[in-house]
Amino acid sequence: MLSCLTYQTKMISKFTSKPLEHLQEETTVLRNQVRVGGVSVQFVSVDSAAIALLPPLDQFQVEMGVPDIAIQVEWLPELPVSPARQLFDSGYTWRLYDAGSELRFDFFAPAFGRLPYKRLLINSEFSRARLQMNENSFAGMTRGPSPLEYPLDELLIMHRLTQEKAIELHGVGIVGPDGASNLFVGHSGAGKSTTARLWSSLHDVEILSDDRIIVREDRLRKDKIREDANRIFMYGTPWHGEAAFALPGRAPLQRIFVLEHGHGNVLTRLTRSEMVAELFARSFVPFHRHEYVDSALTFLERVADSVPCYRYCFEPDERAVERILNFRD
């Protein structure tokens, strides 16, 4: 259910660097805000469909406030072709360009041919952006587009995390019946969704996601400041896997397991360097700037210093769950 709020143009001007200046003063604009992995994103548009939140992202909706990222969504008859240096090509769904003071993400799909169907222009701090939708691309279509849909939303958060002590990992986050919170990371096919289904079928657990987890260092509330006041948390995300688990909660991260199919449910403690490498190989990091990669590796070292990590060669049945529940470091 869309529950966006309406404000007059003047009221949103403090949230955007170029706040809808072309609109008439009496034009009503709509806003919506979500928070994923501790990063808040606010969308502003005159078009209600442009800021609509579809499941499961609607679970991540939050109260309006000053966001970490503010995005103005607008429709253009066509997206202008302007020369820009290409920084990265994902090989399929998106390309990144250097647009002077901004970065430009162009999004492609076979249905729209060689022209981008939408474009994101964002500043280098990943805090202010304009999302331009190509009207030509959608002419005559019965289904309206959802401007926020994958991969734009995930790319946004993934890039913003480079500015913070955080990283997105390919994994399933499970808060167990005893309150212990474990993160199982793995490539596609390693058994993440299978693990999520197993745990949820056997125990009363909270599964934050069965495919994408954000790990970040957060300060605890002021009344709990101690030497270990900064702790590593895992957050659920809307980007779920085949088992479709996606929750907006978070939990202090206690252990990490690198999933591998094997025999006997064998746990092997990883060294610090092994852990950093294995987690990096299962992370979502913008590779087009070495600073982002350096930031990710530095943060993973911090995680390795705080959270034990094991390789888990498992067989996908209930014994694999019991092995973890009975495991002591």
């Binding site: 992202l57 090989g91 399929y92 729209f112 849909e149 779920h240 085949e242």
Partner: protein, 57 residues
């Protein structure tokens, strides 16, 4: 020889560095597949509903 001396001194024996290769999955890491999404429920179902038509592994 050096190894034995180290043990006699109570120091940790020298271990030569090991080189381990960790394979990346670039096609997964750069979101070039449409495996998951926020637009329409489960991962695979969303891909069909989305304008991104490539279903990831």
């Amino acid at each position: 020889m050096n190894h034995e001396i180290s043990q006699a001194d109570g120091k940790k024996p020298y271990e030569p560095p090991r080189l381990t290769t960790i394979n990346l999955r670039p096609e997964e890491a750069v979101l070039s597949h449409c495996k998951t999404g926020t637009g329409g429920g489960s991962a695979l179902g969303n891909c069909h509903a989305s304008f991104c038509m490539s279903i990831g592994s």
